[in-house]
């Protein structure tokens, strides 16, 4: 959701870090998107190709590392992967699990020359 301003943020962060390192080119960006983060990587890729033109990130490749959602039941402490149909704990049927993975959305690193 809101992939265009989000992609602009990614470009801005990447350019800031590249500038600090006196880089001439950004060749790759490594982005992590959790299963529960409401971002569509295809849309980010689409906007990237438009807005990175004429910057040192112009030919950079975007790499998306997806992190599966993981919940932890607060009743029996079982860790599990929620499915579309079922969010309750598969072991004890408890509700209100804590999200321990899957909400990540970050630029992890960039490769520069």
């Amino acid at each position: 959701m809101h992939e265009l301003p989000i992609t602009e943020s990614i470009l801005k962060i990447a350019l800031q870090h590249a500038e600090k390192a006196n880089a001439k080119r950004i060749t790759d960006l490594h982005i992590v998107i959790g299963e529960l983060a409401s971002m569509v990587d295809d849309s980010i890729q689409f906007y990237w190709e438009i807005i990175a033109k004429d910057t040192i990130a112009e030919k950079a490749t975007l790499h998306f590392r997806r992190v599966p959602a993981e919940l932890q039941c607060m009743t029996c402490f079982e860790k599990y992967h929620p499915t579309d149909k079922e969010l309750v704990c598969p072991k004890c049927g408890g509700v209100g699990a804590k999200i321990i993975a899957g909400e990540e959305f970050a630029l992890e690193s960039i490769d520069v020359e």
Binding site: M1, H2, I6, S9, I10, I13, A14, H17, A18, A21, A23, T27, D28, L36, S38, L87, V88, V95, G96, F105, A106, L107, E108, S109, I110, D111, V112, E113
Partner: protein, 219 residues
């Protein structure tokens, strides 16, 4: 040979950082603040209109209203008793963000108020993803919208601190199964503070107003 530079920066960082700044500002003035979110027509403004007269002489309230266009909502808040009512027109943006709240806070002397009510743009999806810096988030669900909304909008229902269920006076007339609805909420957000009420009949409003007063006095 490319060199790898570690960045590890959350992409929504800028908004979250500004939200923290907003929060610090609100807190240092001793104000309690809420961010009310809902689909268009669920009853955000009606709730404010029914709440303000019940807070007269108890709390000094400022309202900040977000809409794509018009000052209809801030006018209603002012008419209902808000001592200050500021309208943010987003001009197209579908949610308020910390930057917009920051700008609106500049227009208020927060020391003159006890409670700040921010009414977000009518939208069940986006506002939940953009922290403003208020103490609590309040979602207004309404009976005619249907009982499957917690299942269809888990991101929104999971993150809110308070759930108002408005238009309970319409329960006899629509196909809304309260236990199905509540189960959907419980799975995502067990123990969320819930206020079933009707802005039309007044039923259930006292508990909601009491919650506001208690929290404002603590701030």
């Amino acid at each position: 040979m490319p060199q790898n530079i570690s960045v590890v920066e959350n992409i929504l960082n800028a908004n979250d950082r500004l939200a923290e700044e907003n929060r610090a500002r609100i807190e240092s003035a001793g104000v309690f603040s809420i961010n009310i979110m809902a689909s268009p027509g669920a009853g955000k403004t009606s709730l404010i209109e029914q709440t303000l007269p019940r807070l007269k002489d108890k709390l000094r309230v400022a309202a900040i209203d977000g809409d794509i266009a018009t000052s209809i909502d801030s006018d209603r808040a002012a008419a209902a008793g808000a001592l200050a009512a500021i309208q943010i027109n987003t001009g197209g943006d579908c949610h308020l963000d910390a930057v917009m709240l920051h700008g609106a806070l500049d227009k208020l002397d927060l020391t003159q108020f006890d409670l700040l009510i921010v009414e977000n743009v009518g939208n069940l999806v986006c506002p939940a993803n953009f922290k403003l810096g208020t103490h609590k988030t309040v979602l207004v669900a309404s009976v005619p919208e249907g009982d499957d909304k917690p299942y269809k909008y888990p991101g929104t229902y999971r993150g809110v601190d308070v759930l108002v269920i408005n238009k309970i006076d319409l329960l006899p007339y629509v196909n809304f199964k309260m236990d199905y609805f509540e189960r959907g909420v419980q799975v995502l957000n067990p123990g969320v503070t819930t206020f079933p009420l009707s802005c039309t009949t007044g039923e259930g409003l006292d508990a909601w107003v009491e919650w506001l007063i208690t929290n404002s006095q603590k701030a």
